[in-house]
């Protein structure tokens, strides 16, 4: 027995007819063609499916589409206007915070809430803050730098140099 839901995704309202068992990540990827949100583990571990639900970062593979009825969803496609980067995207680019890019949308959506709650996090707070997002490529250090870069930019402060440091 399908349900009709109304979900605002990246500012646009969508009225959809869905099975209750449809996962939010499938709604986003397959009904709305927003494929920037990825399915990595499908078991709530990796965080590649992370989106914002009413501003809170959540794992969309473990939420039903019907739970988003009447609520707002933000995905990676909506973090900046066409053709521009926001501070997190710029940070990931400048600091080589990605290799394959599979974890990156989830990392950015999670970091968005992280920085909203804690605009000037310590390195420890960043590492704990992204503990729900796994990366198989980078070893996390450049991801941490990317988030620190974005934090600095958001606060109007000069970010740390992105030149390689030879020790």
């Amino acid at each position: 027995m399908n349900k009709t839901i109304v979900v605002t995704v990246n500012g646009t309202s969508h009225t959809l007819d869905v099975e209750p068992r449809l996962l939010l990540v499938h709604m986003i990827r397959e009904l709305l063609n927003l494929t920037g949100t990825h399915i990595g583990c499908d078991t709530s571990s990796c965080g590649a499916c992370t989106i914002l639900l009413d501003g809170k970062s959540v794992k969309s593979c473990t939420i039903l589409a019907v739970q988003a009825n009447g609520r707002s969803v933000s995905t990676i496609e909506g973090v900046s206007p066409e053709g521009e980067f926001n501070s997190l995207q710029e940070g990931f680019k400048e600091n080589h915070g990605l290799h394959c890019g599979f974890c990156t949308p989830g990392m950015i959506m999670r970091s968005t809430e992280l920085l909203a709650n804690n605009p000037n996090p310590t390195e420890d707070e960043i590492r704990w803050g992204i503990s729900g997002n796994l990366c198989r490529c980078t070893g996390y250090n450049n991801i941490v730098k990317a988030i620190q870069y974005a934090s600095a930019k958001n606060r109007g402060v000069e970010p740390a140099s992105t030149e390689p440091q030879f020790v």
Partner: protein, 288 residues
């Protein structure tokens, strides 16, 4: 992975939710945070015919103190417990436990009510509630009833909740002056379930004599376990290295861990002893 089909309801009042549970019987499950249930449904370990989503019911998310009792609503998210100033100040054991539950995203959805009602000895709040000597408040067709935490856990995914009852809040007494509590769990990696977890609450009187002790163990028994002999080993006298060692030894003897990927039985017993000792010391530090 895709769950089996089900009928979905989202009641707006507890009364409606209870009526639905009553009507649909054993084929209905409550959807709270959903981060234990939905993964099970996706793996087809659980296939309820009806899912009753209680997230739309107002008034079930709160943290308050009334007449010497702390009351927490069942829908209070783990993230809210983690960041609540009142709990950070007065009950740091909540920061201890919530920061070790899964990860930040899961904590934005997971609820304390679900964590308890799921009946999984691997969940973290049960041991804490044992240590705090909490009481579960359940709402059914006949109204509210209270269930002492020691009578709440029956076995694997089994609690004292009837199929037509909803856990609506958890409460525990504000402990006397001179009390401290702490929780830690050993895990293989961040976000994992406990290899072993220990919650301790104790009260020391003005002479340093231990007048209350609550010790709960996570994931080393079929149900969350109270380390009764350990509690008795501490009571009625000042806490010393000897009584701590005794409490630690009793806990490691009295639990029933299974050998699995997280460790052998012997290893888990040894870790229980280590954690009991550390958490007693931490609780004492906080009691001062």
């Amino acid at each position: 992975m895709i769950a089996q089909s089900f009928q979905y309801e989202s009641p707006r009042t507890i009364g409606d939710a209870v009526s639905m549970l009553d009507k649909y019987g054993e084929e209905a499950k409550i959807l709270s945070g959903g981060h234990s249930l939905i993964p099970m449904m996706k793996l087809r370990f659980a296939s309820p015919e009806y899912l009753i989503d209680i997230n739309g019911i107002p008034g079930l998310s709160y943290i308050k103190e009334e007449n010497g009792v702390v009351k927490i609503g069942a829908l209070t998210r783990e993230a809210d417990l983690e960041h609540a100033d009142y709990l950070r100040q007065h009950f740091p054991i909540f920061k201890d436990v919530t920061k070790l539950i899964a990860d930040p995203q899961v904590r934005n959805m997971g609820t304390i009510g679900g964590n308890l009602a799921h009946g999984d000895a691997a969940n973290d709040h049960p041991a804490v509630m044992l240590a705090l000597r909490a009481t579960v408040v359940a709402t059914g067709p006949g109204g509210e009833r209270t269930i002492p935490i020691d009578e709440f856990f029956f076995g694997f995914y089994q609690t004292a909740l009837q199929h037509n009852e909803i856990l609506t809040s958890i409460e525990f007494p504000v402990p006397p002056q001179g009390s401290g509590s702490a929780y830690h769990k050993l895990e293989r990696k961040v976000g994992d379930y406990a290899t072993a977890g220990v919650a301790v609450q104790l009260t020391l009187d003005v002479n340093g004599v231990c007048t209350h002790a609550g010790i709960g163990l996570t994931n080393v028994n079929a149900t969350p376990l109270r380390a009764e002999r350990s509690e008795k080993a501490l009571l009625g006298k000042p806490v010393t290295e000897a009584s701590i060692a005794e409490a630690a030894r009793y806990a490691s003897e009295d639990c029933n861990p299974s050998s699995d990927l997280r460790g052998s039985e012997e290893y888990k017993r040894a870790m229980v002893a280590v954690l009991v000792k550390r958490m007693i010391n931490k609780a004492i530090e906080r009691a001062r």
